[in-house]
């Protein structure tokens, strides 16, 4: 089992550790409900060092990135960040990633931990024609610490001083020095709150983590586990690879259909996705809220008029509203906001309603 550089600190904070893919990670320190609400109301600190990190560099880097992602990286300025699926030729989603553009010749992909080997194999295969391109797994060299919540910007300033650790705006990054180490601060996250994700040399990660905690614990900052990270992302309707999408699903069948930019000359999967757009989709990912008690979970059947019309892809108890919420992939004929559906929980069909997503939205700083 792999450990992140922050492992000892998690134990010190009495984390309940679980095996998450190859890593031993903190699922919760206290209660998931309290941790969720702390991030919504103040701020929390996450160890997300398990995320995969891949450097792509060389003269062809820019055109290569444009070819492998469905979103449009052409307009990105240096130090800008873009979210995109990676699709295969059939339009199936191989992974969903964050693309950090360091400059035209250097990109950093933040990918899902479980997909690291698959993605690198895929990217390496696609890169064969580009002689000068290098694809490098830097997953173990760098750690990622996420500071998320409405107070996160004040806490950053409190840690590093005025303007010494803040990226200019959402979906941008900036580079700073922390002691002798370069750190990349990216104004992104997976919680639906304002905040940053900080990439740092693994050797400096524990020092940075402790510094942020020491400086901000008096203001209420606490470490937050992956349990609350999951409820936060689901409430904000950020998709989870492996649950809400995989290679059998195309982006057009999900709420991230906006990440497919058909205006681009070419990209892997464009032909299949154009065909699908022409024919129309048959299934769609929707959000629903339970009418009564009962908590939806991954793979529970979705029922309408006694007929199974789809499956829950993610479900949880929402700590903010104290209701069961979920995402489900269902037959597009029923995918209408306001439509009543049922979720089969064990032997019971429980009432639910399709609602507008996200379930939660904070006005983020531009």
């Amino acid at each position: 089992m792999k450990r992140t550089p922050l492992y000892e600190s998690h134990l010190k904070y009495h984390a309940k550790m679980v095996s998450y893919h190859d890593y031993s990670m903190p699922i919760q320190y206290d209660s998931i409900i309290n941790e969720h609400l702390l991030v919504r109301n103040k701020a929390g600190l996450f160890d997300v060092s398990h995320m995969g990190k891949v450097e792509i560099y060389g003269d062809d880097a820019h055109s290569f990135v444009q070819q492998v992602v469905t979103n449009d990286a052409a307009q990105l300025s240096d130090k800008q960040v873009l979210y995109s699926p990676l699709c295969n030729e059939k339009g199936g989603i191989i992974d969903d990633i964050l693309i950090y553009k360091i400059d035209t010749k250097k990109f950093l992909f933040i990918i899902n931990c479980a997909n690291t080997e698959k993605d690198i194999a895929w990217l390496t295969e696609q890169a064969k024609p580009c002689k000068s391109l290098k694809i490098k797994n830097v997953g173990d060299d760098m750690s990622i610490i996420a500071l998320q919540g409405p107070s996160s910007m004040e806490m950053l300033e409190n840690t590093f001083g005025h303007n010494k650790g803040m990226p200019p705006k959402r979906f941008y990054l900036d580079e700073f020095l922390f002691d002798d180490s370069r750190m990349i601060v990216s104004s992104t996250g997976y919680t639906g709150e304002d905040g940053v994700e900080i990439l740092i040399d693994a050797k400096y990660a524990l020092k940075l983590w402790n510094r942020i905690l020491e400086k901000n614990e008096p203001a209420g900052l606490k470490p937050i586990g992956l349990g609350a990270r999951d409820t936060l992302r689901l409430e904000a309707c950020y998709l989870l690879y492996g649950n809400d999408m995989d290679e059998t699903v195309t982006p057009l069948e999900t709420p991230i259909d906006w990440t497919v930019k058909f205006s681009k000359d070419s990209f892997i999967g464009k032909h299949a996705l154009l065909e699908q757009r022409k024919k129309g989709i048959e299934r769609k990912l929707i959000g629903f809220v339970m009418a009564n008690q009962g908590i939806p979970r991954h793979d529970y059947p979705v029922v309408k008029n006694g007929e199974v019309i789809g499956k829950v892809t993610s479900g949880t108890f929402n700590p903010t509203t104290k209701k069961g919420i979920g995402l489900a992939r269902i037959n597009v004929r029923h995918a209408r906001i306001g439509e009543d559906i049922q979720i089969q929980i064990r032997d019971n069909c429980c009432e639910a309603r399709i609602v507008k997503i996200p379930f939660y939205k904070r006005e983020l700083k531009k």
Partner: protein
Amino acid sequence: MNVPDELKYTKTHEWVKKINGKEVVVGITDHAQEQLKDIVYVELPPVGRELKMGAPCAVVESVKAAYDIYAPISGKVIKMNQELKESPQLVNEDPYGKGWFLHIEMSDPEELNRLLIASQYKEICEKET
């Protein structure tokens, strides 16, 4: 970890307390609630349901997942804790008191002898953690 001496236990973390004659009250242990943490939903079998020792009879859900609870003893459900419907957190707050699950009329009181005593149960928990 609180393991009262007067109760009997299962290795699947349920407790049993004899009240009178054939009637017992059952619930889940302090160790179990501590492991599950935030309990947000409890699904209990209806009054009248016949339970078989060791078979799943209830479901407890934390934020993260659903867990089966096994009947610690065979018999008929004669009372269920209605309060858990609105206040599932009682299981976290008071697992041996207000967080009780069911009253059962035992069909075979001899089964009580097959349950663990406090010291045996404690040993199992210590091995787990």
